[in-house]
């Protein structure tokens, strides 16, 4: 991504048009919108109460009454998947928000200030990146205590270094541009230059990364919940559903198939959208 793109391609309507025109962008966009719609409309869409147990209908195979069957406590699998989308979406959005709130300012400071500040911040980032993200998230969730909020914090902190690195790199590119020199000679403060002139120009790149990181965050949430470190029972989550399904893999395959399908499709959608956004912002594809 060079700065030509940043200044000339960003017209929002042309970006949207280019996104819709690309197969990846529109396909991914549709999947992501559906995912958001399911999460928002959960109370209307869900046929049963996701927490209601039915001892007369334990582990029933899919039928007209229960389209995706019931689980080991007689709860409707479809309803739990629909409500579980909320945990995934919430963690996806909020953990990346945490990562960006922590990472972007640090990256801006690091890239703009340079020198010792940059050196120290980069060494800290290296240290955090040296711990594989899921292992860091597991450790954080373990020490903070198991809950969905802590999983969110853990995933957010583990994802922050990527945003520090990316923001810093982009600032270094933009900082050398003539328009930044121009506002500097006009005597504007560093803060104003960063917020008014640097940040808007690197926003598209951050947007692409945020989309792709959200896909990773949803997989991470499912993983943490699968290990019992995310959403706590009885609240529904796709990862926790898979953990429960593991004991009944042979007798009740529907319990493990459907939650996974939803994770895959939503993550696939986000990855597709991220790819589409990147292509739409790439000046070589003009």
């Amino acid at each position: 991504m060079n700065t030509f793109a940043l200044r000339h391609v960003i017209g929002a309507d042309s970006l949207a048009r280019r996104l819709v025109r690309s197969a990846a962008g529109s396909g991914g966009g549709v999947i992501v919108l559906l995912f958001i719609a399911i999460a928002c409309l959960a109370p209307m869409l869900s046929p049963y109460d996701p927490l209601a147990t039915d001892w007369g209908a334990l582990r029933q195979a899919p039928s007209a009454a229960h389209l995706m069957g019931t689980d080991d406590l007689g709860r409707d699998v479809l309803s739990r998947i629909i409500w579980g989308s909320r945990a995934s979406l919430l963690v996806g959005v909020l953990s990346i928000a945490i990562a960006m709130v922590v990472g972007v300012p640090l990256g801006l400071i690091s890239g703009y200030a340079g020198g010792v500040v940059d050196g120290v911040l980069m060494r800290i980032t290296d240290g955090l990146l040296a711990i594989p993200s899921l292992i860091l998230a597991i450790a954080l969730a373990a020490f903070l205590g198991a809950s969905l909020v802590n999983a969110m914090i853990a995933i957010g902190i583990a994802a922050a270094p990527i945003f520090i690195r990316l923001t810093r790199g982009q600032v270094l590119v933009v900082r050398g541009e003539q328009y930044v020199d121009a506002v500097r000679t006009m005597g504007f403060s560093g803060l104003r230059i960063i917020s008014r002139h640097v940040l808007p120009n690197i926003l598209p790149v951050l947007l692409v990364q945020a989309t792709l990181s959200m896909a990773d965050a949803i997989i991470a949430e499912a993983g943490l919940s699968f290990l019992g470190l995310g959403q706590q029972p009885p609240d529904p989550s796709w990862g926790a559903a898979l953990d429960a399904a593991r004991s009944f893999i042979v007798e009740c395959p529907w319990m493990s198939i459907w939650p996974g399908v939803f994770i895959c499709v939503s993550v696939f959608g986000l990855n597709l959208l991220g790819d589409g956004l990147r292509d739409a912002l790439d000046p070589r594809n003009l």
Binding site: D126, I135, F143, L227
Partner: protein, 313 residues
Amino acid sequence: MVRYVTNRLLMLIPTLFIVSVVVFGLQKLLPGDVAIALAGEDKDPTVIAEIRARYHLDRPMLTQYAYWLGDVLHGDLGHSMRNQVPVLELIRTKLPATMMLSAIAMAWALAIGVPTGILSALRKGSWLDYLSNVVGLAGLSVPPFWLGLMLILLISVDLGWLPASGYVSPFEDLGECIRSLLMPSFVLGANVAGVIMRHTRSAMLTAMAADYIRTARAKGLTRRVIIARHGFRNALVPLITVSALQLGALLSGAVLTEQVFTIPGFGRLIVDSVYNRDYSVVQGVVLTTAAIYMLLNLLADLAYAMADPRVRR
């Protein structure tokens, strides 16, 4: 080259320092009294007193860190609160299974990712390119634990071809070991295969667009020689780094994969110690993982420098 290696080694020191601060800091996240939390399930007062003494919890935080770091540098990662086994010993016994699993997973990822990436680049825009892009992205999007469950369902339960769980040490029976890891390693490698495929494709596209390819073509070299000797050899260089960075993803993914296939490795160790609130084991595993990951990345950087002389400045 010697200077390059020394520089890279020196750069590891601040990184390791930060990792140690993070791992030490984890302890401070525990709610309430650290000693009581560390004592685990049974709150034996003598155990609590022991922990207080061991971690110097009555001293200032900086002193605590210094003592802890001193122990770590002497190879003492503490003891498991549950069975009093030294953490280092636990890690040493669990590591081989994970290493074996990750190595075979990487073999899967390279065996699938590199050829499809090359083919995709050579047939850019064809249905084959399109298909492998979709499959590659799907590989990236599948959570390994779910793919594991589905393969168990298909291959172990329905077809009965491979065992659904368990692990055989390579020293006991190498054939059985590979058989027991075939499915888990595929599951673990699927994500990485997707990443490697995408990077191979773009590296290959870049390499094939270079001037020296045109020159090679003008010289009248055969397509095969051009692709293998000029295209792929150059695309290989960035691939080394990408593959090394993916080792972190493998170590992360191993935690979940070992959980699904009940493989007694590193990942099971961290999960079990999280369940048992065996915090010093968790810290030890995080520290060791980071050290291994950094070491492997260092080796990759050296390989990169050997493959590309321009890097050794």
